[in-house]
Amino acid sequence: MNTVSQSTARYVADYDSIASQLPGSGLSWLQAMRTRALSQFSASGFPSPREEEWKYTNVAPIERKMFLPRRAIPGSVDIGLLGRYRLPDAFTLVFVDGGFDAGLSNFSGLPDGVVIAPLSEALGRFPELVRSRLGGCIESEPHGFISFNTAMFSDGVLVVLPARTVLERPIQLLHVATQPESLCTVRHLIVAENSAKGEIVESFVGQEDLSYLTASVCEVDIGENAAVTLHKFQAETAKAFHFGGIYVKQAQHGRFEHHNCSFGGLLVRSEIHVGLDQASECLLNGLFLGSGRQHVDNHTRVDHFKPYGISREVYKGILDERARGVFQGRMIVHQDAQKTDSNMTNRNLLLSVDAEIDTKPQLEIYADDVKCGHGVTVGQLEEELVFYLRSRGIDEPSARNMLTFAFANEMVEKIEYESLRSLVLEELISRLPQASAIKEWL
């Protein structure tokens, strides 16, 4: 794989001209980190389907384009769009084309000790903290998108929840793309110290039908007995490219919950990697919809490193028209991780003859005293259920739509944060066939 694409070479070549504008350019450790990442990216380029972890996703369309780092003059923000996706009861940080926008953000009234700061600012205020944490949650060999992000990140957020703090209001990181061929390379760092608790929502949206690339990385460091709920709400434009990686490190008795709702984007890859320590618990829920020519890849990896860990994972996909969905789930139980209890389920519905699903749930187990399982189903709706509804007077197409909706709604109902749940529900309904009929039932 020595054939690095033209765009890779150009990103590398242009790097010097933008390096000075990137946050933390005066910090030598960060410079060194970025340079190292750039040379890794220069050697590897973006990942190729020849790599097992990218078997079903070819990112060549991303390589064929050249996305531009943040421009001096920001695009004009569609306030209506922002309003629609803004969660009314959250602390909100808005990132426009990968840059923090103070004017649109609102996170005043933070409890004492809690830090929420754009990374560009945090590098000045807490350089040592960022230095000691940045990159710390990424265990595996970073692939092209991760090193690309490390080299290029234009901003992001630092969240620190001090020990024993419970943050009552959720934090929303709202990303909006406003310019064609733009690049959203944000890097988020979330630290929940021992026994702290908080909830964060990453939202990704774009204006009109812009084509752009999101390449975001979010690191979550969960201390002993701490609990973090992280949502991802992805409703990028129909022409957008999206890579979003979430890398989580859990300490003993930590708890991590993730809800991934993937609706938009032309070519989407979501990664969620979680490492569990003793008796920590992780819950991964995912819902992905695809239509048109969307390609949606969900890649999850759960590493049980220590005993008594619990993990539960449920991903559901609905693919219509010519969409292609991918689910790759890896569950690894390491030798020390006795008494691990882990389960993974992936269920998929294909609504059209041209839709496709590729699913690969893997169990790799090196400890003997474990309880692990996984299940996959692909198929149509249960005919039994269709008949039941028809026997109650509901016509067949409506019965099928109702069941398709129900299939997805089961995932939505797992979201406890109410204003997010209703936003997700609205987005879901608007993207299903016969949206108006479903609204009526509700």
Binding site: L350, V353, A355, I365, A367, C372, V378, G379
Partner: protein
């Protein structure tokens, strides 16, 4: 068929009892592989031109390929120039193969292995092709089968006597460009079995091949081709053993099955190649390509395998379900102990309408072994109403082994229904305690539970094999508990 604890008790504590060496004079090629080797091999076999051409095409393709690295197994690079590609007992090198003329040493060998070749000593109803290193040394019941129109002979004989059939079907399921080991096999395969069941014939007895590696530093490359014409029916069994040696030996076989309209082929394997010693020294590298094509409507191919031997097993018996309403099945028990590694599973490719497949895989891992299930279920666009059900369960015995599941599911047809379930667990303490409380020893209890765990697969095996398979499990797990 439930496990008989007493039988198992007798068996536990036995070493690999097929590990002896037969002392016969052999003709063999010096180690090394080049076009000359292949020409020489083809010449010894007096093969027609088309066979030589085919072998050479495969060899030339092989030279462009790399050994695959994706499987969850590890082994040092194999030096293909250090292997001898032909070894045959001297008396067999050319000659007819009537049992009377067979070297008594060989007869004795098969007798010791529990496979007496003299027909009167055989259980009626099973015909055997005995392959010793690179050649088939005897095929029993040939005449009786011929009466029914069934052709059952060594591959070498088939090339001589039925060249048209060989030419028509060879390489049509596993082409000579398929994968690294299959391609190597295509170039250098030395013998194997050939079965042809004509239209409407139900093969009157079970057919079986017994493979034996004897010589040191040789590789065994055999090829089996089974064709069942319309409405034909056959059940075929395969068994294998090898002496205990400190060096690893390569076994790279290819099996091709072809089922035409409404034909049914049942292929059962009990694989007991030498697995290496307790420290992981020696043993067979069993890198095998097995594939069946359900070409006809309502045809059915069923693979059943019990894999207990070999240092490394790398095989994925699959079915290409082309005919509408065709059925593919895969039942597998793979046991790994000590330092054995197994990466095995199946491929079910659904092409025709209303095709269905069932996969039941049971992996048992003990000691330092690594046991992986790797399976592909692919439903292509035209495969309306295709169905697949997969269940793979793993059982772990001891805390230094690994059990892994790598299923790949690709679906391009909305009316398809695919279900996959997998679980991994260890033998429950409660079960063990219950058995012990009822007076069973720990090892008996384990054997009993393991046999119960594998029951769904064992019931698919022909009777005699089921007994052998259960017995093998007892041996394979020796010393893994307590």
């Amino acid at each position: 068929m439930s496990a008989n604890a007493q039988t198992l008790e007798q068996l536990i504590g036995h070493e690999y009892k097929q590990g002896f060496v037969t002392d016969v004079e052999t003709d063999f090629f010096p180690p090394g592989l080049n076009e000359g080797t292949i020409r020489a091999l083809s010449a010894i076999k007096k093969e027609p031109e088309f066979m030589l051409e085919w072998r050479l095409a495969a060899y030339r393709h092989w030279l462009t390929m790399k050994s695959p690295e994706w499987a969850h197994v590890s082994f040092p690079p194999i030096d293909y120039q250090a292997i001898s590609y032909y070894s045959a007992p001297k008396t067999q090198a050319d000659g007819p193969k009537s049992l009377d003329e067979l070297d008594p040493e060989l007869l004795e060998t098969y007798k010791k292995l529990g496979i007496p070749l003299a027909e009167q000593e055989r259980l009626a109803g099973v015909a055997v092709d005995a392959v010793f290193d690179s050649v088939s040394v005897a095929t029993t019941f040939k005449e009786k089968l011929a009466e029914a129109g069934v052709i059952f002979c060594s591959f070498s004989d088939a090339v001589q006597e039925h060249p048209d059939l060989v030419r028509q079907y060879l390489g049509t399921v596993v082409p000579y460009t398929d994968n690294f080991f299959a391609v190597l096999n295509s170039a250098v395969f030395s013998d194997g079995s050939f079965v042809f069941i004509p239209k409407g014939v139900r093969c009157p007895m079970e057919l079986s091949t017994y493979f034996r590696i004897n010589a040191a530093n040789t590789g065994q490359f055999e090829r089996t081709l089974i064709i069942a014409e319309d409405d034909a029916h056959v059940s075929y069994l395969e068994g294998c053993t090898a002496p205990m040696r400190d060096e690893n030996q390569l076994h790279a076989a290819v099996v091709e099955l072809i089922a035409l309209d409404r034909a049914e082929i049942k292929y059962s394997t009990v694989q007991n190649w030498y697995p290496g010693d307790k420290e992981g020294k020696g043993g067979i590298y069993n890198f095998v390509t097995k594939r069946g094509a359900c070409r006809g409507v309502r045809s059915k191919i069923s693979w059943t395998q019990v894999e207990t031997g070999s240092a490394i097993t790398w095989k994925y018996p699959g079915c290409i379900l082309q005919g509408d309403h065709s059925v593919g099945e895969f039942y597998s028990v793979a046991v790994t102990n000590n330092y054995q590694q197994a990466d095995t599973g199946t491929k079910m490719i659904h092409i025709g309408k209303n095709t269905s497949s069932t996969i039941i895989s049971k992996g048992i891992s003990a000691g330092h072994a690594q046991n992986s299930y790797r399976g592909l279920v692919k439903i292509l666009k035209g495969a309306e109403n295709a169905r697949n059900y997969t269940q793979c369960d793993s059982l772990l015995i001891g805390d230094r082994c690994g059990a892994h599941t790598f299923p790949y599911v690709v679906v391009k047809q909305p009316t398809a229904r695919v279900e996959h379930e997998a679980s991994t667990s260890k033998i429950s303490e409660d079960q063990l305690f219950f058995c012990q409380q009822r007076g069973l020893s720990m090892e008996d209890a384990v054997s009993m539970i393991v046999n119960g765990f594998c029951k769904e697969v064992f019931k698919e095996l022909p009777m005699e094999f089921a007994v052998e398979a259960q017995a093998l499990l007892g041996i394979s797990l020796e010393g893994s508990v307590g």
